[in-house]
């Protein structure tokens, strides 16, 4: 790491001979060597798995691979078929609705809960565990429970009706027009606990002095959260956002467990299209084409943003 390693001979008059030039700068490769070594897993994963895997997927999306990946290229056939499939179009529309609402609600609910948990309340640990527990339960079964709860025959609707409000209708899973909101209810139930936890961890990092300053300044609590604390938690919010967004894009078992994409194809989502065609239909090419479309969309949004967010500028 020292310049002796690279320089031929120790200079007898280093001060003078160093002159004005930026001599002695060691090899850039060796700087922060530990950090680089520590990042090898990340680099390998990024390159081999995610980049490699993506390229592989894209390549095979141009083939007519069925059960096994085979390099029989068919041009854009898979894409043509994809965009002609009504189910794919419905899936995309659903994803947009589901994504938008999930993003908004899970952030809002998650943050409100986190803020409440941060009020030095009693039984904090219990509450937090309650909110988080759905996250631990496999959706294969909780999806079924939501099916029941939302079932008009014996779920909430029937309970409310039996209480006397006979015209009450609440059958989100069995009504094509609103089924995606039914899925949303369960999705929020499962996911907001984690969001709350993430944001709570962020809140716990806020310096107590900031609160003091805002109290003296006479800033109401909600404004302090909105304009001071939330901006300070920007990194945590970004993390949360990415976690939620990636969850949205990948949403699959939630739908499978609750509606199987039904009624009809009313609650289909892209990831389910991908899996169904890859594994049930044994048409890898079609699945890859769909997943490529998803990835391209994500990449178009993420890459410029990530460069702005993480690249170039220093921390802070």
């Amino acid at each position: 790491m020292t310049d002796q390693l690279t320089g031929p001979l120790p200079d007898p008059f280093p001060v003078q001979s160093a002159g004005r030039k930026r001599s002695g700068r060691p090899n850039q490769l060796l700087r922060n060597l530990n950090a680089k070594i520590a990042s090898i897993p990340m680099v390998l994963t990024a390159l081999v798995i995610f980049l490699g895997g993506t390229v592989w997927t894209v390549v095979y999306s141009f083939t007519n691979s069925k059960l096994l990946p085979r390099a029989k290229f068919v041009g854009f056939d898979q894409y043509e078929r994809l965009w002609a499939a009504p189910r794919w179009l419905v899936s995309i529309e659903n994803l947009a609705i589901y994504g938008l609402f999930t993003l908004i609600f899970s952030l809002v609910i998650g943050f409100v809960l986190a803020a409440l948990m941060d009020q030095k309340i009693r039984f904090e640990n219990t509450f937090r565990t309650i909110f988080l527990y759905p996250f631990a339960l496999s959706f294969i079964v909780t999806g079924l429970v939501w099916q029941w709860v939302l079932n008009p025959e014996f779920g909430i609707q029937s309970v409310v009706r039996s209480l006397g409000w006979t015209s009450f209708t609440f059958d989100p899973l069995y009504n094509s027009d609103i089924v995606i909101y039914g899925v949303l209810i369960a999705g929020l139930w499962q996911g907001t606990g984690l969001v709350m936890c993430l944001l709570l961890a962020g809140l716990r990092g806020i310096d107590e002095d900031i609160w003091k300053a805002s109290r003296v300044d006479g800033i109401p609590m909600w404004r302090t959260y909105l304009f001071i604390v939330i901006p300070m938690m920007r990194p945590v919010f970004i993390t949360t956002l990415v976690i939620i967004a990636s969850g949205i894009v990948k949403v699959y078992d939630l739908v499978v467990a609750q509606t199987s994409g039904g009624p009809g194809i009313a609650s289909e989502v892209p990831a389910k299209y991908v899996y169904d065609y890859m594994f049930q239909a044994q048409n890898l090419g079609q699945g890859f084409a769909a997943s490529t479309m998803m990835l391209v969309t994500v990449a178009i949004i993420i890459i410029p943003w990530a460069y702005l967010e993480f690249g170039g500028k220093k921390r802070g």
Partner: protein, 363 residues
């Protein structure tokens, strides 16, 4: 009588650590009170209590004769500069300054004006767009001051607001704060470690030690007639010289005697009588030690040796050795002594202090 801030029997502990104990303090309307005290004595804690940021364990706090002990900070009409700055890290300097005003729904042009004014006073105009992370220590401190300045409040609390500023800026801001105080006529409670600041700004100074106020008086009284040994030693830099000794009767006159040397108490003012035999501590400030030609004829002749000379620009600080004591002396910067020189020494007793060796109280 109406007080601006009035603190009754305030106590506060952090768990087992008792920080404030039965503290009483009344601050008059429009007064500039400086809190002085050793590090960790509870000054910031006291300010935090006044601001309502810490809940006292016991006692009451009145602001403008209103009992605010249980009130929210925002309802107390206070502004505060934190020792740790507590800037909002994600906001630009300008936002930091204006946020409180915007929340209070002050009209935009008024805000702009106030912020501009504060920025000008604090010389941070060209930094308004930066985030705190891109500021130097002193710049952050100025922003913290600015955040308090822009607000119209009855009571300002300053916790060492100028500690990280250079002397020049500091004296400029000192003047600005004084001016602000005179024009706004609000109450200011000001913690500082800078004695100049304390002496020049304060209407009254409160000296604290371990959560207890030792003396609350105007600067000159504090400086010249400290109530006890702690106050005497705390104020003044370099600190007062202390000599442990006792009172003795020499030819009908009470003198102070230490290590075999007698000092006449001529000129010393006291309410109590000075009984010979009492163990006392004599305190003389370095600038009240007279050398050579300054020593009046009448005084005893004590010889001392110059040990170290510390030139400090305007002044010259000498460390003398005399009868086993090390004595610091402040002389004019133009008078130079080389170490080893013998000098004649005398004390100006009219401004010296005598303390009981036991109670450490002034006599």
């Amino acid at each position: 009588m109406s007080y601006s801030v009035s603190i009754k029997d305030l106590s506060l502990s952090f768990g087992a650590v008792k920080v404030l104990e039965n503290l009483n303090l009344d601050i008059r309307d429009g007064e500039f009170l400086v809190l002085l005290g050793s590090s960790g004595c509870g000054k910031s804690t006291l300010l935090n209590c006044i601001a309502g940021l810490l809940e006292p364990t016991d006692g009451q706090i009145f602001i403008k004769d209103r009992n605010v002990t249980w009130e929210e900070p925002k309802d107390r009409g206070i502004g505060m500069v934190f020792q740790s700055y507590a800037l909002y890290p994600q906001m630009s300097v300008e936002k930091n300054l204006s946020f409180g005003l915007r929340v209070a729904k002050v009209p935009a042009d008024k805000i702009r004006e106030k912020v501009a004014r504060a920025a000008e006073i604090l010389q941070i105009q060209q930094l308004l767009d930066r985030k705190p992370a891109a500021l130097s220590g002193g710049q952050r401190q100025r922003v913290a001051i600015g955040r308090a300045l822009v607000r119209d409040v009855d009571v300002f609390l300053f916790d060492e607001p100028l500690s990280n500023l250079d002397a020049k800026l500091r004296s400029e801001l000192r003047v600005e704060i004084k001016r602000l105080h005179q024009s706004l006529k609000n109450t200011m409670i000001y913690v500082t470690h800078d004695q100049i600041e304390a002496l020049t700004l304060a209407d009254r100074i409160a000296i604290m030690k371990s959560g207890v106020i030792q003396q609350l008086d105007d600067p000159m009284t504090i400086y010249n007639r400290p109530k006890n040994l702690f106050v005497a030693g705390f104020i003044g830099s370099p600190p007062m010289n202390f000599f442990r000794g006792e009172l003795a009767n020499r030819e009908g006159k009470v003198v102070f005697t230490t290590g075999g040397a007698d000092f006449s108490l001529y000129g010393y003012q006291t309410e109590t009588s000075l009984e010979p035999g009492r163990k006392v501590v004599l305190g003389v400030r370095p600038e009240h030690v007279m050398l050579d030609e300054d020593v009046p004829e009448a005084a005893e002749i004590h010889e001392a040796t110059v040990d170290i000379e510390e030139p400090m620009g305007a002044d010259n600080l000498l460390w003398l050795k005399h009868a086993g004591h090390v004595i610091s002396v402040r002389t004019a910067g133009t008078r130079r002594y080389s170490p080893g020189t013998k000098v004649r020494l005398g004390f100006d007793m009219s401004v010296a202090s005598l303390f009981d060796a036991g109670t450490e109280e002034r006599i």
